[in-house]
Amino acid sequence: MFVDPGRERAKWKDLTDEELMLRVQGGDVGCFDVLVERYKVRLFNYLLRLTGDRDEAEEIAQEAFVKAFIHADKYKTIAKFSTWLYTIATNLVRNRIRARGRAPQIISLWKRGPGDGEEERVMEIADGGRSPEDQINDAELSETISYAIGRIPEKYRESFVLREISQLSYEEIAAVTGLKLGTVRSRINRARNCFRQIVEPLLEKGIDF
């Protein structure tokens, strides 16, 4: 019997993450596409703020999805899929940092010109049908946030990004990072204070994003 893949996919979109994962475990590979579609942007933004490197963030996001699929049989519905996926991604970042033996580099939009010795601004601006001014503002804001997050001590950064960028609850952050709830709260507050101190001078200068 012919099954329309488009209609099937539309049906899958109504399912919860956990139901989709159960289907993936049962061999319904197409369901995983729906999960990738749901989480790719959120996961990428989390990783981008954490690593400060666009290419690396994309690479880790891809690796995290691959691991989630390959080890789908190990997933248990008692945990939220998002928490499980973020845990995989966080561990991948930790492994990379450990392997490099240094903190993640901060993304820089300023690079030296090839010959003139002057600074040349390199920006990737997405064409979203917005005015060039808005796009530049977004790029500046993004750069400032990445810069400030990159200055937060590594110990607090993970929890801060999970809370402020990925909007995870404290309980979910505790599950992802493997920390106690009280530790998570304390780390997030320290990171917030740190972030405020980094951003405050820029705000006082009157830079309006």
Binding site: K40, E63, F65, V66, D138, T144, F195, R196
Partner: protein, 237 residues
Amino acid sequence: MNCRRARKAIFRFVDGLTDEKMQLDLEQHLAGCTVCESLARSLARSLDLVHRAPQETLDENFNWKVRLAIHKERTAMRERAASTGSLFRIWNVRFAASAAAGVTVAIAAGWLAVASGLISPAGDQGLAVEAGRTVSRPLPGEPAQEERLAQPTTTPSWQEGPRSRPAGPSVGSVVSGGDHAQSGKSSRVGAIDETATPLDSLIRAETVGMTEAQRARYLRTHIERLQVFLQEQDSTR
């Protein structure tokens, strides 16, 4: 509310965890404390900045990239499993072949060693089996096997004690010469040699390598023949 408690309350307020009473107390404190008020304002602005951070978009081919990566990973996993299996099989065959070859070589070497007399199946205890009978090996400084066999090391029962010579002519007259002098060479049996007759030497030479039973049978046969010979001699006289 003091400044310390107010700062804690500010962070709770940011998370929306303050109840009405705490919120009221905080507002009262901030109205009178410029330091805490400044902190709350700057924290709210900075966090607002983060929350306004634009969502970065991914490459539109990301889903395809993930599918491709999954396919590659699964293929690699299958190949790894297959190569591990084949390696195990190859290892098994190689192990069995080398074990069989080793056992064959060991058996062949053992057989050759036994055949060439390098080792004795009875072990290295001074014994060797030759032609179905056990003989002792010469110890260092001892004469060779053939010499020792020619020289009796112990006194046979038939040599012990005074013996009565049969009447009539002596055996020495029948068998001229004899090995008496030869047997006298042995210092171990020197005392025996002094009393030994030519007949003794003859018998000893004739029964070299025989067991006691064979020697007894040999003697019985020859004594009977000797008796017949003497009777014939007597009758002719």
